[in-house]
């Protein structure tokens, strides 16, 4: 119990911050109210530092077959979360704040700032809790805590109808996904008789995978496919990313995806990469399902991305494709435990890299706003034409967009390339040659639309008609968003330079303890052994 609490100090710090932010945002005093963002960032930094300190202890910190995972995930979440938080500046209450500045009385009922930042922090807390999970109840609750706030964030991110449409689609498919993986978890419990992941690993190692457990595994993976936006649960992605404001889309591309991958890693670790002929693969049915899912997901994502004209939809489909890439690492498993051979460390590396790159891309989009024809809230940049000549209009944004896009493409020597390489090597060392070929082909397809973005921004001339550039608006949060973009681009470069260090960290974090048969006695507090009961009966 005490060990478990020691594991979640970062989440506790984050929760206290959340409570504080909820109060701060309701203050009639503008100074206090604007403290919401700095306070959230301080809280997240504290959580990150606490997690980093816990990581330095050296021993295993979790109670799953992947015991070193929590520390790394939490530090990554804190790092990328800081970028994402900074990006949320000026998104909520823009109109209300302008009205208050021009003399309207403050009303706590009309402002949403406190709730919004609380929702962001709750979601990040849930993500960190996912990494600490040791049993399926905890994992389920953490996944829901990650997702529920994001549904609200999407719906309130903009007053346009598209945001509400995105909110309703996201919520309903999210509920379907949650019900599916919940049913999967129930089947896992039914098949193994325990909810503890470590005990489950022992039971499966001793008795093998029975039918109910296998059904549970497949359903869990199917339900979690919603969180990572993988086929066949990817339908919402493009609409939701397009409908939500760009800062929220950036949030959705990292937070639920990371939660989904952490959950998938934990569940696969409980099954163990100890099956198959070679003894280091997942059970055959699960392997085939993940194989097909990975191949179809990356192909669908990339092919549909080519057909899009809206930048946010392109990024949404590319987000689907990136999930497909990462599934290769999940399938490959820990392998020999080295950086090049372990799919788990490849997934962790890719998650961190993807978070940084993708936030940068969405930050540039969030910076580009223009006056709406209907004098409503400013419109975001929509299609490739809006990006044309960005380099001439706003050189900084143009360069930023080029860097992060090339990195997303996996252009050497940028971060995206470093992240993709271990996915290839781990796939090859796991013997999944065909899948690695699909991965390579897809990386080539992806070049088309990424380079199209770079070409529009850097090479094409600005659009002819006057007014396109004039109507660009710089809202008060423009600078903060620009800083977010700069930090992401810096992160892309810095992480590429420090890739060796990051590789060490992820290799450490992906340490996998292959389960062996049950150690006696199994979870004495929770599992009541049936044989002992008749003996105790006469005593009553």
């Amino acid at each position: 119990m005490a060990a478990k609490i020691a594991l979640i100090w970062p989440e506790i710090a984050l929760f206290i911050t959340t409570c504080l932010v909820m109060l701060l945002g309701l203050s009639p005093n503008k100074q206090w109210r604007s403290l919401c963002l700095p306070a959230s960032m301080v809280g997240l930094t504290v959580a990150g530092v606490l997690a980093a300190m816990g990581m330095g202890v050296g021993g295993p910190v979790g109670d799953t077959p992947l015991p070193y995972l929590p520390g790394f995930i939490k530090v990554t979440v804190a790092g990328v979360g800081l970028l994402l938080l900074l990006l949320q500046a000026g998104l909520i209450d823009r109109r209300e704040e302008a009205l208050i500045a021009s003399g309207r009385a403050f009303s706590a009922l009309r402002t949403n700032r406190a709730e919004y930042f609380a929702l962001v922090l709750f979601s990040l807390t849930g993500l960190m809790l996912c990494a600490s999970a040791g049993d399926l109840i905890w994992l389920f609750l953490a996944l829901e805590l990650t997702s529920l706030p994001t549904y609200v964030m999407v719906a309130m991110s903009s007053s346009r109808n598209r945001a509400q449409e995105a909110g309703v689609k996201y919520f309903y498919l999210g509920a379907l996904g949650a019900a599916t993986f919940l049913y999967g978890f129930v089947m896992l419990y039914g098949g193994t008789g325990t909810l503890q992941l470590a005990t489950m690993a022992e039971v499966i190692a001793a008795e093998g995978v029975n039918t109910i457990t296998m059904a549970g595994l497949l359903l869990s993976v199917l339900g979690l496919a919603f969180k990572i936006a993988a086929v066949p649960m990817h339908f919402y992605t493009a609409d939701v990313y397009q409908g939500a404001a760009a800062p929220v889309s950036a949030f959705l591309a990292f937070v639920p995806k990371t939660a989904g991958f952490v959950a998938l890693l934990l569940i696969c670790s409980a099954v163990g990469w100890t099956h198959g002929e070679s003894g280091n693969a997942l059970p055959e049915a699960l392997r085939i399902m993940l194989w097909v899912m990975a191949a179809v997901t990356m192909t669908v994502g990339n092919v549909l991305a080519i057909l899009q004209n809206s930048i946010k939809r392109v990024l949404a489909y590319s987000s689907i494709a990136h999930s497909g890439y990462m599934l290769v690492g999940l399938l490959a498993g820990p392998g020999d435990g080295t950086f090049g051979g372990s799919g788990v460390s490849a997934v962790l590396f890719y998650l961190a890299a993807y978070g940084v790159m993708n936030t940068g891309a969405f930050a540039v989009i969030a910076c580009l706003e223009r006056k709406a024809a209907d004098r409503g809230e400013p419109m975001e940049v929509e299609d490739f034409d809006d990006l044309r000549g960005l380099w001439k209009r706003e050189p900084a944004l143009g360069v930023l967009l080029a860097i992060v896009t090339l990195s997303l493409l996996g252009f050497p020597p940028l971060l995206g390339f470093m992240a993709k390489l271990p996915l290839f090597t781990s796939g090859i060392s796991a013997g999944e040659i065909a899948l690695v070929v699909v991965l390579g082909l897809n990386s080539a397809i992806a070049a088309y639309y990424y380079l199209r973005i770079v070409k529009a921004a850097m090479i094409d001339d600005p659009r002819g008609e006057p007014g396109a550039a004039d109507s660009a608006v710089h809202h008060p949060a423009y600078n903060l968003r620009l800083v977010t973009g700069l930090c992401s681009a810096l992160g892309v470069v810095a992480l590429a330079i420090l890739a060796g260090q990051l590789a060490e960290r992820v290799t450490e974090a992906s340490g996998y303890i292959a389960p062996v048969g049950p150690s006696q006695p199994v979870g004495s507090a929770t599992v009541l052994e049936t044989e002992t009961l008749p003996v105790q009966l006469p005593m009553t």
Binding site: L136, I137, F140, L141, E144, L148, Y151, V152, A155, N161, R162, Q164, E165, A166, G167, V168, K169, F171, Y172, A175, L176, A178, A179, T180, L182, Y183, F185, V186, M187, Y189, G190, G193, T194, L195, A238, D239, Q242, G243, L307, Q308, N309, S310, R313, T526, V527, L528, T530, L533, Q536, L537, M539, T540
Partner: protein, 116 residues
């Protein structure tokens, strides 16, 4: 203490596989009906109730498995599932009211602006 309670309440009898199968059948039927309803109905409230039904299907299976394995993990899980289902219901109803005010319609078809 727990053992004492178990002994007194005549709980320790494990459920046979035949009985378990009945419970699982009901649970699977509920889950499937919920899924089919979700995919075929277009009323937002009905669609939400369908996902609730899928949640409750999981609850039934949990209780049955709990009795089958003779441990309390499953029953504990049910309480959390109910809590999450309640939280989701609060969210869904708030969202539905919000959407209804915008479009005066409960149909999911009223929200099909984005395509592609």
């Amino acid at each position: 203490m727990l053992d004492l309670f178990l002994a007194q309440s005549a709980f320790p009898q494990a459920m046979g596989q035949g009985v378990l199968a009945h419970y699982l059948f009901v649970s699977a039927a509920m889950f499937t009906l919920g899924l089919v309803g979700f995919l075929t109905r277009r009323n937002l409230i009905i669609m939400f109730l369908c996902t609730e039904m899928m949640f409750q299907a999981a609850g039934i299976a949990l209780v049955a498995f709990s009795r089958y394995h003779l441990n309390y993990d499953g029953q504990t899980f049910v309480i959390f599932v109910l809590t999450v289902a309640a939280a989701e219901a609060a969210l869904a109803l708030a969202l539905v009211v919000f959407l209804f005010r915008k479009r005066d319609s409960l149909s999911a078809e009223a929200w099909l602006e984005m395509k592609g």
